[in-house]
């Protein structure tokens, strides 16, 4: 929020204080502001008797409704009107428009919800319902609430959803303001009565309109306590593994939620996460039997003795090949064929890209000893993934957007080492080793007023999700433009609902989409860049920052398209246009994260 806005709210500072605060904060970047906000919040909490007590309060009633056919909506609407006419400040939200994470800040929530399906929550109530019932549900000790249920007693599960909300809020520590009422088909009278009662009781809990202060930021200032790194990874827990591509999609893309301690890991939008993984035990077994080795054989890994089969799971690459391995294997297998490949850089590279270790041992039989074999293998490398959440929004979580690498060749199925582990082998609630990889070269503009253009295909969209979360929380005024591509509109529009919500809220100013396989001729992001060249160039000229993220192949095509567009629009030669982009890059206005 801008400081000027603070003024329009009833605030506890006098003009002089406000002026001093304004001058102190002038010129700070958003990151600095965030830090200062947290710092102040921290200071405040050490002076409980003073302003801070008020500052942390939301002195209003929040009315949440979940409605499918409009009845609950109508009742909630009437409730809000009556609350307003009695002088309360009431916020009215459909549960699906409500920022779930605000709940912990609420003091008084009135819920009106119907039941549908076979005792299921209405569509719009599902997210809140499952959030509250899930393991991510927060404690709500400071909350008072009351629930009005709508249903039809001719159904087996009369008002089940209302009952569930009521019980669950209670379990989470919230205090019932008023007994729940379960309204049947003739709900008007009972719901009117309940509304009156609820508002009467509300009066006792919400004092007359006092000064209202909106806290400066949500997160408290924190300096990471311990430094975790590649060799000293942090143990995170997998909370959720949710497929986010549609039924018919070729690609299997997952939204992963990891639970972390914000004291331990503090990240910024644009950062990536390093992830350690274990190879597939079936694959390891197959490799061993193919070359006739016993998994119980002992080998030495980094000076420590280990079982060969364990080492193959945890210490060596089993999916990726590397040149030394191919060369070494060629001489072990005494294969002229393989030696020829190994001797030719281009063919070697091609071979490596299209084969895994199992193919090598299958295609060129050899019988190395355990030590010999291990000696050729490459040590396991962690993989990197763009973080797709903002910590300001999800303080104790890291979200990843992960594509399962899988393909068929030589009559069998293959998976990638890390993506196979994360998607298929790691169970929810199990732990994994991760570490933060800061990415200072992929950052939101320092000033929130700067516009941004985000170009990405496939999982390249991941950091943009984090960007948008951050810009939304910051209330940044700069315009946002997403240019996204994938295979099919219906199946592969990653985070579609979120982009739609941002657009509806006016945060996403432009969206251009390229779904390559929805029409006979292929359309990619670079085509959209061409089509919108004039607009794009105008944005750049007006100071927009440009981002490019995703697979390197796409990156190359996009850069070419950008050069062409700049050249067309500015009348410069292609070289001049390339120089223009290069200048942007040097100024930090054109940032890329390609892999």
């Amino acid at each position: 929020m801008a400081l000027s806005q603070l003024q329009t709210l009833t605030n506890p500072l006098d003009d002089q204080q406000l002026q001093r605060l304004q001058s102190a904060l002038e010129g700070m970047s958003s990151i600095q502001l965030t830090w200062v906000g947290g710092y102040l919040a921290g200071l405040g909490s050490q002076q409980p008797q003073a302003v801070a007590a008020e500052a942390e309060m939301h002195q209003s009633i929040t009315i949440l409704f979940g409605s499918e056919s409009g009845n609950a909506r109508a009742i909630a609407g009437a409730l809000a009107e009556r609350a307003a006419s009695r002088g309360f400040e009431a916020g009215l939200f459909s549960m699906d428009d409500y920022r779930i994470r605000e709940l912990t800040k609420e003091r008084l929530v009135l819920i009106v919800v119907s039941t549908h399906g076979e005792g299921d929550p209405p569509e719009g109530a599902r997210d809140l319902h499952s959030y509250l019932h899930g393991k991510r549900a927060p404690r709500l000790d400071k909350l008072k609430y009351a629930v009005l249920g709508l249903g039809d007693s001719s159904y087996q599960h009369f008002c089940r959803t209302a009952k569930e909300f009521d019980n669950r809020l209670h379990e989470l520590g919230a205090e019932r303001l008023l007994e729940r009422i379960d309204c049947d088909v003739d709900y008007q009278k009972p719901s009117d009565d309940w509304t009156e009662k609820a508002l009467d009781l509300t009066k006792a809990h919400i004092p007359a309109q006092g000064p209202k202060v909106v806290p400066l930021t949500r997160a408290a200032a924190k300096i990471p306590q311990a430094r975790y790194g590649q060799d000293n990874p942090y143990r995170a827990r997998l909370l959720e593994n949710q497929r986010i591509t549609g039924r018919g999609a070729v690609g299997d893309i997952r939204h992963l939620i990891l639970s972390i301690d914000p004291e331990a890991i503090s990240y910024t939008p644009g950062d990536t996460l390093g992830v350690w993984f274990q190879n597939d035990p079936l694959l390891a077994g197959e490799v061993l039997s193919e070359i006739g080795l016993n998994g119980d054989a002992r080998i030495s890994v980094k000076g420590r003795e280990s079982r060969l089969s364990d080492a193959l799971l945890r210490h060596y690459e089993l999916t990726r090949l590397h040149p030394a391995l191919v060369r070494g294997w060629a001489s072990l297998a005494k294969s002229d064929d393989l030696s020829e490949i190994a001797a030719d850089q281009a063919r070697l590279w091609e071979y490596i890209q299209q084969h895994q270790v199992i193919d090598l041992v299958n295609q060129y039989p050899a019988r190395p000893s355990a030590d010999e074999f291990a000696g050729l293998l490459c040590p396991l490398q962690p993989r990197l993934y763009s973080i797709s959440s903002s910590q300001t929004e999800f303080e104790d979580e890291i979200h990843l957007t992960l594509c399962l690498l899988q393909y068929q060749a030589f009559g069998r199925n293959y998976q990638g080492g890390a993506s196979g582990f994360l998607v298929e082998r790691l169970g929810e609630d199990e732990s994994l080793d991760v570490y933060l990889v800061e990415n200072p070269c992929f950052r939101l503009p320092g000033g929130g007023d700067t516009s941004i253009i985000m170009i990405g295909a496939g999982t390249g969209v991941a950091p943009y999700r984090a960007f948008m979360q951050q810009r939304a929380v910051n209330n940044d005024k700069g315009a946002n433009w997403l240019i996204f591509g994938n295979r099919h509109f219906h199946n592969d529009f990653l985070y579609q609902l979120e982009w739609q919500r941002y657009r509806k809220a006016g945060l996403l100013d432009r969206v251009d989409l390229a779904f390559s396989r929805d029409q006979s001729e292929k359309v990619y992001v670079q085509h959209r860049i061409h089509q919108n060249g004039a607009e794009l160039y105008r944005w750049l000229e007006e100071g927009a920052h440009l981002y490019l993220c995703g697979a390197s192949v796409m990156g190359g095509d996009v850069k070419q398209a950008l050069i062409e567009v700049v050249s067309e629009q500015s009348g410069q030669s292609p070289e001049g246009a390339a120089e223009y982009l290069e200048t942007l890059r040097r100024q930090g206005r054109f940032q890329q994260d390609l892999y």
Binding site: G117, E118, E123, R126, D152, S154, Y155, V185, Q242, R243, I244, T245, G246, R247, H255, F489, H490, N491, F493, L494, Y495, Q496, L497, E498, W499, Q500, R503, V511, L513, D518
Partner: protein, 561 residues
């Protein structure tokens, strides 16, 4: 505008004669849906926004919007189309829709699963064979039903001509459809004029049917406006006019109810259009625009009283209603297989389960019909029971058509008469209103009911069973001898007491039965019926005689008791 009108009225009013922002909605590629206003306006152009409800929850979890697509319903008065038209319809169904054609209870067809970006191509495609979808849905006169019986061919042709004329006379006049879909010239909105409807059209849908006794396959009394053809010695004399029929009701809301139409009187053929127009304008001016649940003509008439309503219509139309001629209906079903008409032409009625024209491994309906269309020289007629008549086949082609039908499993030999009389509405997964399955529920249910009937020794019983996924009543379930109306997933209300002729409403017998309870209840019922029925007594009549249900006489009062 009156502040007391509902939101749809406001949307119509600001739509500039049904243009809305449809073009912008189509161009918006961030969603497969239409803007909310346009999802109302699109209906007047013949299409609805839907989503695949089977995938809805799963997609929500996947942070994807529902799998939106459009359902387009054509206007096809009396259900008649040519083989050339059929071939085009078939091709569009295979290439631009979900690979099926769905014949409806109002004698037309629907495409399901049309993606937003393909809707224009679909409309242009049917337009190439002179079919449109104007008023396929929306608050206007809908597809006009007409008894398709081709055997009395001259009379039918004449009556069908009237059905067509009524449909055309009551078409909206706005050029919006031509502008948006057929790239017609853009008219300035100010130049538009809707002489019959006015800028906000009707308060609600409006349905018209024309019946030729003794067949009541059109379920005449379920329509807002009905014309019963009165013929003497095969020559059309005029029509008995009926008004105020409808099915739709809401569970638990006793102010809504199905209602049979009242007879207003007899008119001459040349008075038909004036009467139809007057009826529409009375409804336009007197229908309830505040509450869509009470906006159908049936409620307008119950508000005004039949006498007052008849007077209004007569004076607006400038006609005097003569006393209605006596008529009698004998059945609401179709006759299957080959029949020969008065002129020696042959007609083959095919049973199409729930009207779904699709290729399945055991029955290649779509392929079969395409092959027939390839050689057929007569026409096709969609019946109000979702079936298809291959009509006007010259005697020498009968064998050839029969063998194509046979090859693809199109003939209904061996299908029980219970099944052949049955109807199910579309319901899940496309219908947004569905509370329970219907079309997908019918085949399995009928397998079990057939077995039951066999067990009680009444396997050949002829009774009308209809299933809908919700109380809107799209398969006219309240006119069935036994109706199942969806209440929630896997749950139905059971209605009994129709007369098999479409002239008596049924009544609720049991509420909210699970599928197992449905079977149990039907089993008991059939057992009782088999044991205690009088010779020739129909199931519906039996249930009333034995007091299982009481007859509904004034639905406004007694449908819900």
């Amino acid at each position: 505008m009156n502040s007391n009108v509902n939101e749809v009225e406001r949307i119509k009013a600001r739509s500039n004669f049904l243009r809305g922002t449809l073009e912008a909605s189509l161009a918006d590629n961030i969603t497969g849906a239409l803007a909310p206003d346009d999802a109302q306006i699109s209906k007047f152009h013949g299409f609805y926004e839907q989503d695949d409800r089977d995938q809805r929850d799963e997609r929500h979890d996947r942070i994807l919007e529902p799998y939106y697509s459009l359902m387009l319903r054509a206007r096809l008065p009396g259900g008649v189309c040519t083989p050339q038209q059929w071939l085009t319809l078939d091709e569009i169904g295979r290439t631009l829709a979900n690979g099926t054609l769905r014949l409806t209870t109002r004698q037309t067809f629907q495409y399901h699963g049309v993606l937003k970006q393909n809707i224009k191509a679909v409309i242009q495609g049917i337009n190439r064979v002179m079919i449109d979808s104007i008023g396929g849905c929306g608050d206007v006169n809908r597809n006009v039903l007409c008894n398709p019986n081709p055997t009395v061919s001259e009379l039918h042709q004449e009556v069908h001509g009237w059905a067509r004329r009524i449909s055309e006379h009551l078409l909206p006049r706005t050029q919006a459809y031509h502008e948006i879909w057929l790239d017609g010239e853009k008219l300035a909105g100010g130049k538009e004029h809707e002489p019959i409807y006015g800028p906000t059209y009707l308060p609600r849908k409006f349905k018209t049917a024309v019946a030729v006794p003794p067949d009541n396959d059109v379920d005449l009394y379920a329509n807002d406006l009905g014309f019963i053809a009165i013929a003497e010695a095969g020559r059309l004399q005029g029509f008995n006019v009926t008004a105020g029929g409808g099915m739709g009701a809401t569970h638990g809301d006793t102010t809504t109810y199905p209602r049979l139409a009242d007879e207003l009187g007899f008119v001459k053929p040349e008075q038909v259009l004036a009467v139809a127009e007057a009826m529409v304008t009375v409804q336009r001016d007197h229908g309830n625009r505040a509450d869509r649940r009470h906006a159908r003509l049936k409620y307008t008439i119950d508000q005004m009283g039949v006498e007052q309503f008849r007077y209004e219509v007569a004076s607006r139309a400038g006609v005097n209603f003569a006393l209605p001629k006596p008529v009698s209906f004998t059945s609401q079903g179709d006759r299957y297989g080959w029949v020969e008409g008065a002129d020696g032409q042959r007609h083959l009625t095919l049973y199409i389960e729930s009207g779904r024209v699709v290729d399945r491994p055991e029955q290649k309906l779509m392929t079969g019909l395409r092959e027939i269309a390839g050689i057929h020289q007569g026409d096709f007629r969609i019946t109000p029971n979702q079936n298809l008549i291959v009509a006007r086949v010259p005697a020498h082609q009968q064998g050839e058509i029969e063998s194509i039908a046979e090859k693809h499993g199109l003939l209904s030999e061996g299908v029980s008469s219970i099944r052949k009389q049955g109807l199910a509405c579309v319901a899940l997964p496309t219908c947004p209103q569905a509370m329970a399955e219907a079309e997908r529920y019918l085949p399995g249910l009928f397998d079990k009911v057939e077995a039951m009937a066999e067990r009680h020794g009444i396997g050949d019983t002829d009774c009308v069973i209809r299933i809908t996924g919700c109380p809107n009543g799209c398969a006219r379930p309240y006119l069935a001898e036994l109706g199942l109306v969806g209440k929630g997933p896997g749950h139905y209300n059971l209605y009994l007491g129709g007369d098999g002729k479409g002239t008596r409403l049924n009544k609720r017998y049991r509420e909210n039965l699970g599928e197992a309870e449905v079977l149990e209840t039907m089993d008991q019922l059939l057992e009782q019926y088999a044991a205690d029925r009088k010779p020739g007594e129909r199931l519906g009549d039996f249930t009333i005689r034995t007091g299982l249900v009481t007859e509904v006489k004034q639905p406004a009062r007694d449908f819900h008791d």
